[in-house]
Symmetry: C2
Subunit: 137 residues, 2 copies
DNA sequence: TTCGTTGCAAACATTTTGCAGTTTC
DNA sequence: GAAACTGCAAAATGTTTGCAACGAA
């Protein structure tokens, strides 16, 4: 049978922090962000709770950037832009018609598609502006 | 100035193995595959050379599956299907018109897009068939 | 009281690195 | 001979886990 779940102030805090940001945080980032509020917080607890969130679908993993897994608590379907320079992950809300290809893709590869992810790579706004300023100087 | 590059039999072997498979190998997989041919091969050498390939664009990283980075030496633009069950990565050759949105996306997010990646998640053909067989039994 | 939750530190797994010896040019 | 390449083992990094103490129901 399914495991019961007790209330936990720290779990609540972890989810809250993840929902309040759109920086697609790593576990470490969440930990640092919460450390002032919960001085006895442990990194293991952050990992354990994020694990739970992933299992129940409360947050999703959007991949690894610079060796660290990054998460998103915003479940509305959207794409991401990963900055090659600074590792920032920005939301991309442009609608991309990838969904409409599921059936076609399943037909050619013989598998079953449950979801998809679009990741753009390049420069975030900050790094692009910094680079442009440098070239113009 | 740019560093010169010497010939290396092992480097050649590593690239050859990566080009001959379409399993999107991890460093460990490449190492195991080459160990019989080069009994004194070291895992560090595999990592170092794959690093070079990535820098010069000879292979690309397609992300991390089950904690291991996976690579693709096939540079023709295509998408991938990552199996949630067994971690296999399959090529998806269906053309997805994501490129045509670069300009629009750059306009809304203010960054610079250099490339993109589409990752489908679900079940590979093998795992789908296994599951179907199980349900029908 | 029972069982989920946590801190802590140790354990793990993957990847990187320093160094001394080897190979390429 | 100089510079690149490699094996090896140690280090670094991110993540997981065992256990005893703690907190919620």
């Amino acid at each position: 049978m399914a495991k019961t779940r007790s209330y936990s102030k720290k779990r609540e805090g972890i989810l809250e922090v993840m929902r309040q940001t759109n920086c697609h945080p790593s576990a470490e980032w969440v930990y640092q962000k919460l450390k002032p509020k919960f001085p006895d917080l442990s990194l293991g607890t952050v990992y354990r709770n994020i694990s739970l969130f992933k299992e129940e679908g409360t947050v999703i993993s959007i991949g690894t950037v610079g060796g660290q897994e990054r998460y998103d608590a915003n479940l509305a379907p959207h794409a991401h832009l990963v900055c090659d320079k600074c590792g920032a992950v920005a939301d991309v809300w442009t609608e991309l018609p990838v969904d409409s290809f599921y059936q076609e893709v399943e037909g050619t590869c013989g598998g079953k598609i449950l979801r998809h992810e679009v990741i753009f790579h390049g420069l975030c706004q900050n790094c692009l502006e910094a680079e442009t300023a440098f070239i113009e100087s």
